[in-house]
């Protein structure tokens, strides 16, 4: 049974999923559709994971997904261009760089999406500003001090930093902490290269008596004491948690390539399979830089060279990672995306390389992605004043897809994280997400009736809610895209609206009140 059919059948039989309560712990505060093919799976607590792969230096997108029938590409890149017959076929007009065979395999087997022309308005061509913008998810003109991942996972830790979640909310495999993981209230993740090394570092000191902090209050010094104490505490707390997960991991039955990125992704797979409940993993490719100003390709073979080696490392590592996850039965829980601070200029430069540019494709991988190309082929005619490509997708349209579709977050939360509402432009990367009841045992909350259902005109809804809480109902399509909202009269617990202007199909109704959320499905039939 495919997923869409499954949702339809649930709706048709009138099962209000929200009436089945789910027990959630205080930190896994959302229960989401896991994407399985049974109701238990649908009601499972959220265990979805996002893996971010940073490609430092500015990945040359035009030499990833080659516009094989565009003569402008070949005219602008006499020495760098890759001949059509050397590419791996993708569409009539696009071909894969041969080094991306790993990605091509994922794409052909329905596990990879390509988002074309990703950047932001007024793109910055500086590495550090560009990187900061991507990590902080701000407009080009805004200097953010916290990362979008940090702001997102911060919402799972209401009592942070006084109470640390039992597992780190985000993990960075590496040595330095990324701005991306800084939340508004401090560092939201842990950073380590290797779980065992991390454990040894934290625990190899002598028997340590805890010396409590002095409370300096909310002063500049007090805030830094607090920051340092938090880092110390999360290192102490999480070294053991991470080690435990690493030790409990399911052994990989495949051999990863012997590369920097593959090694890092192997650790990620190890930790997920060992039960670490981190939401987001961040890894960075540090074996080489994508900043290919010179010597990007070999002079006698443009399919080989420094850039090709990086692409091969990337594609092969992610392919192995996905195979490993599949073998471990984890593939439905994990999605990943690549990002790089910018693409590169259309025209090659004088030193067999390319200079800083703007828009470029990025990749989203996972068993639940819509394997498709989002956006049209690169437009090499209409360029900006520097000879760089124009934006097709704002990078935050991809982040919004992650939050709204993958993590099934409400658009209000996504808006808080991304500083703006991208819900209407979110790229429909994921098939669908339906989040289900979030409630406490014994508490009555949810949809009581939706009638008529299927509907073609007026719909009346009755809900169980606390009479003193404000409540609202959001209507979204099964892609998770919000259509509109209605308020609920909290005293009578009723709402009504008209669906005559909505196309036939399945819609998700989301009831929100206080800290509770419930969902049900509505069929519109004209």
């Amino acid at each position: 049974m495919n997923r869409r059919k499954f949702i339809r059948s649930v709706g048709a039989t009138g099962v209000a999923v929200a009436t089945l309560p789910t027990i959630v712990d205080s930190f896994a505060v959302k229960a989401l559709a896991g994407g399985g093919t049974n109701l238990e799976r649908l009601l499972g607590t959220s265990d979805r994971v996002l893996v971010l792969i940073q490609l430092q230096g500015g990945n040359d997108g035009l030499n990833n997904i080659i516009p094989v029938s565009n003569s402008i590409y070949y005219e602008n890149r006499p020495r760098l261009s890759i001949k059509k017959n050397a590419t791996l076929p993708l569409t009539d007009t696009l071909g894969w760089h041969p080094a991306l065979a790993g990605f091509r395999d994922l794409y052909d087997s329905g596990r990879l999406a390509i988002v074309q022309g990703v950047t932001y308005p007024n793109p910055n061509r500086s590495h550090f500003r560009g990187t900061d913008i991507w990590l902080t998810a701000t407009d080009a003109e805004v200097f953010g001090t916290s990362g979008w991942v940090g702001r997102y996972v911060d919402t799972f830790a209401p009592a942070f930093p006084d109470v640390l979640p039992p597992h780190p909310l985000a993990v960075q495999i590496g040595t330095s902490l990324s701005l991306g993981l800084l939340g508004p209230r401090g560092a939201m993740g842990v950073t380590f290269r290797d779980p065992d090394e991390f454990y040894r570092l934290v625990n190899s000191g002598g028997a340590i008596e805890e010396i409590p902090a002095t409370d300096l209050g909310d002063t500049p010094a007090g805030r830094e004491v607090e920051y340092m104490r938090n880092i110390a505490r999360s290192a102490d707390t999480y070294a053991a948690v991470v080690k435990q997960a690493a030790d409990a991991a399911i052994a990989s039955t495949i051999t990863y390539p012997n590369t920097d990125l593959a090694g890092k992704l192997k650790v990620v797979s190890q930790l997920i399979s060992g039960g670490l409940q981190s939401r987001v993993y961040l890894v960075s490719m540090t074996s080489g830089s994508f900043d290919t100003h010179a010597g990007q390709v070999l002079t006698d073979d443009p399919t080989q060279g420094a850039h090709a080696a990086l692409l091969r490392e990337l594609g092969d590592a992610v392919n192995s990672f996905m195979t490993d996850l599949k073998n471990k039965g984890l593939q439905d829980r994990v999605a990943g995306m690549t990002f790089s601070e910018f693409g590169r200029r259309v025209a090659e430069n004088g030193s067999i390389g390319t200079d800083h540019g703007t828009a470029a494709p990025l990749y989203v991988f996972g068993s639940r992605v819509n394997s498709a190309i989002f956006g049209s082929d690169p437009d090499l005619v209409n360029l900006d004043e520097r000879g760089d490509m124009l934006m097709q997708n704002d990078y935050r349209d991809v982040y919004a897809a992650m939050l709204l579709q993958w993590f099934a977050e409400p658009s209000s939360l996504a808006q808080n994280v991304l500083y703006r509402d991208f819900s209407s432009t979110a790229v429909p990367i994921f098939d669908s997400t339906v989040s289900v009841a979030e409630t406490r045992r014994g508490q009555t909350f949810g949809f009581r009736s939706v009638s008529p259902n299927p509907a073609s005109g007026d719909v009346s809804i009755n809900v169980y809610i606390d009479a003193f809480e404000d409540a609202g109902i959001d209507i979204s399509n099964v892609q998770g895209r919000m259509i509109r909202s209605h308020t609920v009269d909290s005293f009578s617990g009723s709402a009504s609206f008209n669906v005559s202007d909505m196309p036939s199909g399945t819609y998700v109704l989301t009831l929100r009140s206080g800290r509770f959320i419930a969902h049900t499905l509505l069929q519109v039939q004209h």
Binding site: H127, E209, I211, M228, A239
Partner: protein, 462 residues
Amino acid sequence: MVNLSPRSAALTIDDALHLIRRATFHPTWQLASSLAGQTPGMAVETLMALSPPIPMPDWADDPPEFSDFAAAAKLWPELQRWWIGHCIANVSMRERMMAMWHNHFTSDYVTVYAAMWMTTQSAMLRSKVYNFRDMALGIIGDPAMLRYLNGEQSIKGNPNENFGREWFELFTLGVGNYVERDIIEAARAFTGWRINGLTGVYNPQLADLGEKTILNQTGEWAYDDVVRITLEQPACARWIAQKIIKMFVEYFPEAETIEQVAELIRTNDYNIRPVMASLLSSEYFYSESLRGALIKGPMDFSIGLSSIFGLTNLSPAYVVGIMSSLSQVPFYPPSVEGWKGHRLWINSTLFPSRQRIAEAFLDGREAGSSMRLRDANDTPLTIDFVELVKQMPNYNTAEKVVENVARLLLPIQTSAQQREILLDIMMAGAPTYSWDINSGTAPSRIKLLMQAITRMPEFQLT
């Protein structure tokens, strides 16, 4: 508004420690007690006068030419040891200023390639360390910078914008205070420079001296006009002011505070010496709430360990190694933006790494190894714990030892409860009245105390 007026009260030992933690790499009891009792203004003058010359490496004047990569790369560790060794062995506020400017007018040895260009740049900045205008002028024709940001490849008619962009974005104004057009025009004015041996040579014949409009001023501007026009912008003084405040006072200053310091910079026409003198002797600088408000960088941390514990002859190679493992490779900033610093110096791996390094240090060995700490000639070094404590008053009382060692090692005052626990750690079960600085167990007890303090998260603050 913060109070920038000079503080008149004589420095206490705690005030003096605060000053030297921020203005030098040598926050020792000895130096602090020599400054205690002076007015802040006098003390700052004393520190600024500490500026021992740094002998140049013997290859510094060699031509920047190498037979192969290995020959060039062989000098890079020597370059690192040259500067870091000087900083370990000498108390010098000038080097503290250099740490800021090296992170401002950045260059890295891999891109620049020839270590002698890096020493040339370092020497140029060092000679102008208290004058921003001179540094800004000097950096334009600096060979390392001409190489690092492609200035030598920038030609009239087809200028390379790399330096022009960073000039405004990172070196002088900050984003939002210029437009893309200014970069293009300034890049034209920056043409004409070539490298000849160890010198940048300006050839007006090669420079684009045509009419250009930069920051709304139109004329036939050359590179020095760009400096003049840029420094006339109020934003330039603000940019430098926030840099200085973040390095020396607090990381999250109010906009108004930045403006106040910027005004000082303007009044003194970018002469930084009087600015530093005013700032470091102001009531603002000595506010209690700002003590401990910065996170030590790897340089503060590692050189601080060697200086506080009296090992100023420690092998520079080991200190370079520590700094590198803590994400600050000397002369190799991650990008032209430099090290971001402050909170990004610390994470769940780097904090326990620092704890282990300090523990091992107090055990007299290198981190993660049983190798003894050594000087540059491989002679093992020993920390004299008793001698360290004997510099402090009341060392015959255990409670006073705890109190003073904590004052030395931590930038914030300890609570009675903290001192009580630390006392327990030091005495390790023995009664307090049995404390005897001359007993055979005193060194190991002091070491236990110091290890406990260096493990505290607060030890990473300054």
